[in-house]
Amino acid sequence: MATQTTLTPRERVMKFLKGEEVGRPPIFSGMGNVIVPVLEKYGINFAKVHRDPALMAKAAAGMYREFGFECAVVPFDLGVEAEAMGAKMNFYDDVDGLLYPTVKEKSVKDVEDVKIPADLAQAGRIPVVTGAVRKIREELGNDVAIGTYILGPFTLAGQVKELDELLEDSFVEPEKTNVLLEKISDLIIGVFKIYHEAGADYFTLREMGATSDVISPKSFKSLIKPHLIRIISKMPRPAILHICGDTNSIVEDMAECGADAISVDQKNCITDTREKLGTEVIILGNVDPIKVLHQGASKDVGPAVLESLNGGASAVWPGCDFWPEVPHQNMEEYVKALKS
């Protein structure tokens, strides 16, 4: 059996997520993990990286190669599943600046419009992601943990259906939304299976739209939580549940969804969360990816990392995707603080 000092990065991540003792927590994330310092070094165009498995793999692996992350995570944007469901994306090829792809044309008006493609593995950019997973494994072998993520059912519903309508339906016709989320959940379970078969190691369900900023804890419990429980029960493991924004009132519900770990962002009071959930639950978070990592001074990065750890995070994750234009030095400080 490997000792703490001989753990490979992948072993560290996987053992950590199983709740085993690994000494220093792993340096990893389960969300958008692509940054400009890596893209520039490899000459990769951001608008193109989302559509080419080789470029995606190279950019993801670059976080390990250039900064010592113990993971490579794909994809990078939030439109993969939506596109597989028929939504049209804007990749901003012609914008003179970095913008994440967004949905420009939604595909779902009514529940009946939700269709799981017969060949889901080949739908939209899903083969790009699976291709990237295989390529990363080919290039980095078993050294590095490969993470993938999929949006949660409510968030994904908001990508394929007009948000206002979704919210309106959620209270006027909750059963209608329930059926919609049920169908979308089936698709999510299917895509996770495909990512697992491609060789991914750990899996994050990102239900960022279910933040208490927008959805009341009561609605979260009645409308969204049952679907998260079902998805997580069928997800490959280890599974992580992430929700952005204000999660202070729903962390117990998040923990009850059955994932191996939960992830929260900077709006969460992690000390309170630790107190509520006890010592056994793996909590990931919650360094502010914008104010600290992107816009903060490099001297403030280390203290922010420590604050999360001292507050009760089992390992540090950024609160959400890294904003890709994170300064090189800030990223170095981030990794340095995590290694020390």
Partner: protein
């Protein structure tokens, strides 16, 4: 560049008010841009607003998360650099929280000569019971109202006086600091008051 927000839940009359404000501000010599944070509306609004020679940007998304916030930040930066408007009116999606937009602008302001203007949140008085009656919606609508500098009680031309006064009392309770304005996009009531508030803050900034 000054940033003004016209926010409010779906169907509250944001787009109509924005078009009116754009005419007012452009007529006064200001260069105005409109940022529509809603893919669903942008194809329609884009065409309408382009008639007035505006720069309309689709920052799209449809999910409240860092990538959308990052895209908005970047788009505002690009607007400030490439189009140099005097005023940018942001129309966030109906489920956006105005404070989130304000926070984005605040992080940009120092480096981009950007100033934060007024946040107007529209409240549809004809649907007051629904907006504040349902648990799911009440939370969001209240959050939006709390972030307002001005709450515009809209559609006063179709709502009964009783409903208007009930709305006034309800929103006042949620945000006692906000200035409350009666608004009718149809009759024009209140439009000048809001335009003036935008102008004043624009001039102050």
């Amino acid at each position: 560049m000054k940033l003004v927000q016209i926010a409010g839940y779906l169907g509250s009359g944001k787009t109509t008010l924005i078009l009116t404000l754009v005419k007012e501000l452009s007529g006064g010599g200001s260069k105005v841009a409109v940022l529509v944070n809603d893919v669903g509306e942008v194809s329609v609004d884009g065409r309408v607003m382009e008639k007035y020679g505006l720069a309309v940007k689709d920052i799209g998304g449809g999910c409240i998360c860092c990538q959308v916030a990052g895209n908005m930040r970047k788009t505002l930066e690009l607007l400030a650099k490439n189009y140099r408007p005097d005023v940018t009116i942001v129309e966030p999606t109906g489920i956006a929280v105005p404070n989130a937009v304000r926070e984005i602008a605040q992080t940009l302001a120092p480096k981009n000569n950007m100033r934060i203007g007024v946040t107007v949140v529209l409240f549809d008085t004809s649907r007051a019971e629904k907006l504040l009656g349902y648990d799911t919606l009440k939370r969001l609508v209240s959050t939006q109202l709390r972030d307002a500098d001005i709450i515009a009680l809209n559609k006063v031309d179709v709502a009964s006086n009783e409903k208007i006064e009930q709305s006034r009392a309800a929103v006042q309770q949620i945000n006692p600091q906000a200035e409350i304005v009666r608004l009718s996009n149809r009759t024009g009531e209140g439009v000048q008051t809001i335009a003036q508030a935008v102008r004043e803050i624009t001039m102050k900034a």
